[in-house]
Amino acid sequence: MSSNQVATLVQRARAGDVAAFEALIEPHIGRLYSYLARMVGDPFEAEDLTQEAILRAHRAIGSFRGGATFQTWLYRIGTNIAVDALRRRGRLKARVTSLDDPLQAEEGSVAREVRDPQRDPQELAEAAELTGRVQQAIAQLTPKLRAVVLLFDMQGLSYEEIAEALRLPLGTVKSRLFNARSRLKELLEPYVVEAN
């Protein structure tokens, strides 16, 4: 979607056109959900948070001035909601997503996602275990570090976009990213060492 199209949709949404807002939000729903699910480590809660973030964006569309892109603005709202949810429920260390949960990947569920006819069951089990370990390690990061590493590595935002989304100086984004990776390296040492 071009920036002109976004600007037009934003204008219409501000005027109360719900369909325009839906068109605006449509390309972001899946990615926002995926990000929030990794942030809180709970696919069911992530659905609620996704709704909450989008409803809040809808209410506040009048305050969106276009200084940030719509995507970064949405991630800002989503991150705030996720961090609030973690705080509110007194579990800054988010509970870990179970692989038994019916998580769905873009190409199917998580379980199906790792299923590959070319790979034997043991390989699949190892891949599933690794996914679980990585999610566990991410859940052990503080929400601040978690948000930065997920936005950069999973959502593909640039340093600048993350700085905008989280209202942080660029240097802080870089240092948090480095710290997050260093912490993950400690938490995932057996896997990282194995790769070496």
Binding site: G16, V18, F21, E22, I29, G30, R31, Y33, S34, R38, P43, A46, E47, T50, Q51, I54, L55, R56, A57, H58, R59, A60, I61, G62, S63, F64, W73, R76, I77, N80, D84, L103, Q104, A105, E106, V110, E113, T131, V134, Q135, V149, L150, F152, D153, M154, S158, Y159, K174, L177, F178, R181, S182, L184, K185, L188, Y191, V192, V193, A195, N196
Partner: protein
Amino acid sequence: MRRCREYETLIGAWVDGTADEAQQAAVRRHLDECPACAQEAEALERVRGLVRGLPALRPSPALKPALASRLRSQRITWFDRVFGALQPSELRLAAGVALLLIVAIGAGVVTLQGLGPAADTGAEVVAVAPATGVHAVSSPAPETDEYLQACGLAHGTLDQDQAYWGVESVQLATYAR
């Protein structure tokens, strides 16, 4: 070790793929000389690969219809339009500031300024509320050019006489700056 610390940020940028050519060359040179940093960089790259390798998740098919329904029934107030994107903590701060302003204006005092005697009129400004333009001055409240000039004011209008903060015979006047 100190030299290695200096390379931390560059190694981070290198792992992120955001280092420019000169930075990449500098990191490569350092990694060639420093096995510890080379191992660290490789481990960080591996970590990045693990995080990037996590499958993207997608919501249940029920999410979009539920969202559409809630969007259509959502009532949006002017407050939402202005403050809707703010966090509760930001809202609390804004509300606190607003409350302070309301209390201050309600009391007719925002700041105290001891501007001293105004010219040779004997009048003294004892309190100023810039937001409302109301100034309490000691009696008399002259509106001479000298007084107004000394206070940086213009177009004074005497509003009322009243006791003010224990000062007798204080007059309240409204001036424009």
